[in-house]
Symmetry: C2
Subunit: 527 residues, 2 copies
């Protein structure tokens, strides 16, 4: 069977391939019909050259044109929603409704429209003017962005449609997407919709390009290529860190979203006050989409006591009784098994689950593990192995001091949460524990599971290493996510007519927020 073509320089053309692959339906194990190419370096090279030209051309377009594209793309996705949802359902096993059709697809188009609004208005770029000395600066595009999408959000984090894509384009950069090989058909439909929007709005043809798969060594070569501006990566820690090393050595900005355990501390007062509700909240959060979220609560920290035992028993029962949904791929199931073996070897015991389920497709029993804080402290690295999927590890500490010590041994995480009671009995413990958790996580929650990641200007979907590669940036939330894909461009004594619109005396649209002589204003520079 002929291989699917790749999208380079505005054309769907046959890949220079070194091999091929296919997707499968993880709910059934069935092989899906299309064959997709693994591109040779020649494809990467051609895409880089086209992207570098597109980057120059895009700089000359007014921001409104880029906004028009993002909006048109959102509409194209909506027009093709039925087909997209069916394909993504087939390739990922995720429920068509509500998940794909009414949650993830609208999230994706919503992100594109928010990005469009941000591009049109321009405040994301923090234009800053020192009128007295005619010194002005603003964030500007930095060149083609290579986006690696993950397996777990076929729309909302897709390299050719998701958050990194929207942010990179809105900041004025072309995107080269590396589709995730577990949902190539979904990526193809999205790329087709993107190209329709590119044509409709007259952007440079190579504004959006896509390859299905590349050899790992070509990935390392790509991220270091001088034609590339930056990289966005969401995926496994191992793969991400290899790319980071290659990009770092070339001085290339790379933004990674890697593994995260998302520790949740449940204090005794909260358990006493609303134990059964917490059982429900945790079980729902942990098993939703078979636990395949970056913000899945994978590590629960508890203080020893009767209420904790009751909580654990109830959760174990709920895990055992809950339906077992498919994982995203056979690879995820293998990874989960390997991780659980590591956790068990380090001293965690299985309360329920722990084994694959004998059923069609890739399924693994809902798994709950337990370990003492003392054992955790004896092997903190091994016991922080991420078990990506429907599994979570409970750590029970003797007392608050031991719990504090566990927090101090945590790696960087995307989120961390503390549940406490509403009457104040947990307050002293909270005050002691919160600062220890705060500096180790990007988002600190109270009384709420971390799974939901609102697309809000105040969101931080980021965190200290190794959750990401830099603790100052977020992958979700507009306008901040755009600032990752930009360089600071300063204009010193540049003549008025040569300044970019955002830095001219007159506010270009009356809405742009600018820091003029120390104050944020939507006004003009006063003469």
């Amino acid at each position: 069977m002929a291989l699917q073509p790749v999208l380079i320089a505005g054309q769907w053309r046959p890949a220079q391939s070194t091999g091929s692959f296919h997707a499968e339906n993880p709910a059934t194990g069935e092989r899906l019909p299309e064959d997709y190419p693994t591109s040779a370096w020649a494809d990467c090279d051609a895409a880089l050259t086209a992207a570098a030209e597109a980057a120059v051309a895009l700089r000359a377009r007014p921001p409104g044109k880029i906004a028009d594209f993002l909006t048109a793309y959102a509409a194209q996705i909506e027009a093709g929603a039925t087909e997209l949802v069916a394909m993504a359902h087939q390739e990922t096993g995720l429920p068509a409704t509500p998940r794909l059709a009414t949650v993830e697809l609208p999230r994706t188009t919503g992100q594109l429209r928010q990005a469009a609004a941000a591009a049109r208005e321009g405040s994301w770029a923090l234009p800053t003017i020192d009128a007295k000395i005619n010194l002005r600066s603003v964030l500007e595009p930095l060149g083609p962005v290579l986006v690696f999408g993950p397996n777990n959000f076929p729309f909302a984090y897709n390299g050719v449609a998701g958050g990194d894509f929207a942010a990179a384009i809105a900041a004025g950069n072309p995107v080269m997407a590396k589709a995730h090989p577990s949902h190539p058909g979904t990526s193809r439909l999205l790329a087709e919709a993107a190209m329709a929007a590119v044509r409709e709005t007259g952007l440079p043809a190579a504004t959006v390009q896509m390859l299905y798969n590349i050899a790992p060594e070509d990935g390392l070569r790509l991220v270091a290529d001088p034609r590339l501006g930056a990289v966005g990566f969401t995926g496994s820690r191992n793969g991400g860190l290899r790319l980071k090393a290659a990009a770092d050595a070339a001085g290339k900005p790379i933004y990674l979203e890697l593994s995260s355990l998302n520790p949740v501390v449940i204090l005794p007062g909260a358990l006493a006050e609303r134990g059964p509700k917490l059982v429900e909240e945790f079980t729902t959060s942990c098993l939703m989409a078979s636990g395949q979220f970056c913000t899945n609560p994978g590590l629960i920290l508890l203080l020893a006591g009767e209420a904790t035992e009751t909580f654990i028993n109830a959760v174990a029962e709920r895990f055992a009784a809950a339906p077992v949904n498919p994982l995203l791929s056979a690879g995820v199931a293998r990874g989960l098994r390997t991780s659980l073996a590591t956790l068990r070897a380090a001293g965690a015991h299985v309360l329920t689950g722990g084994e694959p389920v004998n059923a069609p497709g890739s399924r693994f029993a809902n798994t709950l593990l337990r370990v003492s804080a003392a054992a955790f402290l004896a092997a903190p690295a091994a016991l922080q192995t991420e078990a990506f999927g429907n599994a979570s590890l409970l750590v029970v500490a003797r007392d608050a001091a031991e719990l504090a010590l566990v927090l101090e041994h945590l790696e960087g995480n995307l989120t961390g949460c503390i549940y406490s009671d509403t009457q104040g009995s947990d307050d002293a413990r909270y005050q002691d524990l919160a600062p220890r958790l705060r500096c180790r996580v990007g988002r600190l929650l109270n009384d709420k599971m971390p799974t939901g990641v609102a697309v809000s200007p105040a969101m931080n979907h980021g965190g200290p290493y190794p959750a990401t590669g830099h603790p100052g940036f977020t992958a979700v939330g507009i306008p901040a996510s755009l600032r990752r894909f930009a360089m600071l461009a300063c204009y010193d004594n540049v003549r008025p007519g040569r300044l970019p619109a955002a830095l001219q005396d007159k506010n270009p649209n009356g809405k742009l927020w600018r820091l003029i002589d120390g104050s944020w204003t939507q006004g003009d520079v006063c003469a």
Copy 2:
């Protein structure tokens, strides 16, 4: 002679040393009397532990306390100005007046006071509030910052007093300074002033620590240490890139300011209009402080023609006639000689200078080199070797197309400049060349030499790799420089009393700018 003590955990104490060094007066070659230690790892380790504790303690202080310290430190520096200037003059050979006393020292205290104001007011941290869903985020300190100061600004970039120091402290982090071994006495006086201010304002004793020198391998170990939050480095490309590799591998943010040639394009219309004035501007900028500025104009790009020959001849005459001032150290003189040899081997010829001067101390003749654009394009890497000091390379292009090609072969630089005439005869060339230069430099200038770096909110003292390690950040300019030493901290559903002051509904000081539901405001969150 006893070794000078080091500053660890608030105490001046004997170093655990592996060796010693001394400074010399580069104007005379005279050995200066004090002996300073090269610290063993034990000193680094002790300082890291103390810094980590100070970081926790500092988080609990209100921003006003940190501002008080920075202000008190500025006053201490002013109180000790006479002694500081005398010591720095002796150690660096830079003129006591105007340079050290009336330019660099006031710049340093000015930076500290600007940083104090930024810390007190808080807007640098971009507090962002989504009131509807009670999601709030702000930049927060990320832990101890290790600052490596360079040789060329004994006050304004000193690890224990300069821009990185002020930014890191104002962002709420303790600083461990690694003094530059060419001016240890100046660094000691500054650290003493800093400690007096620490005591006066009651900050944690290890808020400011200083070591004089460490082994290169301990530097690599330091930047990767889990107790450290981030690194600021200003200095040579080789040393900086080694530290970057070590920090990157540990996932540690490192901000580098490395070499830069600061290309200056002088278009024919400008030469015709004001040639003699440009001779003057360039000569002054290039020879000031013996050319030892990060933003020294080291590469001048010209179009072939009679006016260009006139310009070159006039500059060569001025270089030959100008006084030869001392370099910062014998090491700088050796480095300059090596770089010039590289440039000559790659095809540049010396128009004037090119040799050390037979005089007391470390002096090198003012040096002007010339190469054709064709030769430059044949060896662009070698001909972009930085010759740090009183030297500059002129590149003469056949035509504008060849000049454009030279621009496209430039590495990342801190600055780039284009001189054009005021009547419009250069405008078409400017429009063609400026975009090619723009994306390769942090600061684009018109009709102005790059040497001055105003401490302004709109400044960018940064640029694409390898001028720095990340094109999005600036080392000079408050508030932006503070944001390097911070992590994004998000609060999701956190109870009101537990939020940091900057994120509570009420504006903490009535002056803090916050992005509330999409608009910048100094107001409160409306109920």
